[in-house]
C-alpha cells in the first residue's frame, strides 16, 4: 500500500515536471519526502530523539537575561511609540488648513512667481534663438559661397577638357582624309614585337638577332 502511494506520488510529480507550467519545474535536486498522510516509518517508530542538555546554571542565567531584555525592550518600545505620536502631533507635514482667501493669495503668489520665471526664461530664449539664427544664416551663406566656388572650378575643368578635345580633334581621321591616312599607315608599318635577353636589353622587331648582324 505504501509502495502504491509512492508510485502515485511520483507520477504526479513527474507529470508536473514534464508540463513545465511553473518555475519550480526547473529544480535539479529532487527530494522525495514522505507524504504527510503516511505513518511513521517502522525503523523510526520507537526512536526517541535525544534532548539537548542544558545546564541549570545556564538556564537560570538565560531566564534572567531574557526577563531583563523583555523589560528593557518594553520600555524602549513605549518610548518609541510616544516619539512617533509626538512627531505626528508636532509635524506640520499634512495638517495645515488654509482659509479660501489665504489659498487664493498663495495661488496668486505662485502664479506671479511662475510668470516672472517664464518672462526671465523667455528673455534668455530670445537671445539664444537670435544667436542661433545668426549662426544659421552665416553657415548657409558660407556653404552657398563654397558651392559657387566649387561650381566655378568644375566649369573651369570642363572648359579645359573641351579645349583639349578640340585641340586633339585636329589629328582625327575623318571620312575625308581616310584614304590618305590608310596610305600613310601602309607606307609606315610599325612592328610592336620585341624580345628581351638575359642582360635586359630590348630587341625590337620580329628578328631575334639585332638588325646590324
Amino acid at each position: 500500500m505504501l509502495r502504491a502511494g509512492c508510485q502515485l506520488f511520483n507520477q504526479s510529480a513527474v507529470a508536473a515536471v514534464k508540463t513545465g507550467s511553473n518555475n519550480f519545474a526547473l529544480e535539479f535536486v529532487r527530494r522525495r519526502r514522505k507524504p504527510r498522510w503516511l505513518p511513521v516509518a517502522k525503523s523510526k517508530l520507537f526512536r526517541v530523539p535525544e534532548r539537548k542538555k542544558q545546564s541549570e546554571e545556564e538556564r537560570t542565567e538565560l531566564m534572567r537575561l531574557h526577563n531583563h531584555y523583555k523589560t528593557q525592550l518594553r520600555s524602549v518600545r513605549q518610548f518609541l511609540r510616544e516619539e512617533v505620536v509626538r512627531q505626528q502631533e508636532t509635524s506640520t507635514a499634512d495638517h495645515i488648513v488654509l482659509t479660501p482667501e489665504q489659498e487664493e493669495a498663495e495661488f496668486q503668489r505662485c502664479v506671479e512667481v511662475n510668470a516672472a520665471w517664464n518672462a526671465k526664461i523667455a528673455k534668455e530664449r530670445e537671445v539664444r534663438l537670435a544667436k542661433e539664427r545668426e549662426e544659421k544664416v552665416a553657415y548657409v551663406q558660407e556653404r552657398l559661397e563654397a558651392g559657387k566656388l566649387r561650381e566655378e572650378e568644375r566649369r573651369e575643368r570642363a572648359d579645359e577638357r573641351v579645349r583639349y578635345e578640340i585641340e586633339q580633334s585636329k589629328s582625327f581621321i575623318t571620312r575625308e582624309n581616310l584614304d590618305e591616312a590608310i596610305e600613310t599607315a601602309l607606307a609606315n608599318p610599325v612592328d610592336h614585337n620585341f624580345a628581351i635577353d638575359l642582360a635586359g636589353n630590348m630587341i625590337k622587331g620580329r628578328n631575334t638577332q639585332p638588325q646590324s648582324n
Binding site: 531574557h66 531584555y69 518609541l80 512617533v84 505620536v85
Partner: protein, 130 residues
C-alpha cells in the same frame, strides 16, 4: 524570484502585523540580506513595505561584516508596533539601538568556554608529548 524595489511597493493593511526581518537576496553559497519591513504573514520574497537596511554576513577583505541601518525608519516602525525577528533584534542590540539580546551573551560565553577548553587542551598536549 523577482526583485522588488527597496523603496517598497508592498501593499499592507493598516492594522496587520508588520515585522522587521531579513530578506535573503544573495545567491547559492553567498548570503546577502536586506533588512525589510513587511507584513508578518507574507514570505520574504514578496514585495516589501520598506527596506530599512542591509546585512552582508560574509566578512570582506578587511574582515568586516557590513551592516547598514536606517535607524530613523526603524525607530518609526518599532514605534508603530512592528515586530522584530530574532536575528534582527540581535543585530540592533549589537548596533546599540536596542538592549543587547540574550542570545548574543549566550553565544559569547559559549565561544569563551570553547576557547578556554581549546587552550587547556593545547596546554596539556605539549606536556604529554614532552
Amino acid at each position: 524570484m523577482s526583485l522588488s524595489p527597496a523603496s517598497g511597493i508592498g501593499r499592507f493593511y493598516k492594522h496587520s502585523a508588520k515585522i522587521i526581518r531579513f530578506a535573503r537576496h544573495g545567491c547559492t553559497n553567498r548570503p546577502f540580506f536586506h533588512i525589510v519591513v513587511m507584513e508578518r504573514r507574507k514570505n520574504q520574497h514578496q514585495p516589501v513595505i520598506e527596506q530599512v537596511g542591509s546585512y552582508d554576513p560574509l566578512p570582506n577583505v578587511t574582515n568586516e561584516r557590513l551592516v547598514a541601518l536606517n535607524t530613523e525608519r526603524i525607530r518609526y516602525w518599532l514605534g508603530k508596533g512592528a515586530h522584530m525577528s530574532d536575528p534582527v533584534a540581535e543585530l540592533l542590540g549589537i548596533a546599540g539601538l536596542l538592549p543587547v539580546h540574550p542570545h548574543t551573551y549566550m553565544t559569547a560565553w559559549r565561544n569563551r568556554k570553547a576557547a578556554a577548553e581549546a587552550a587547556a587542551a593545547e596546554a596539556v598536549k605539549p606536556a604529554e608529548t614532552a
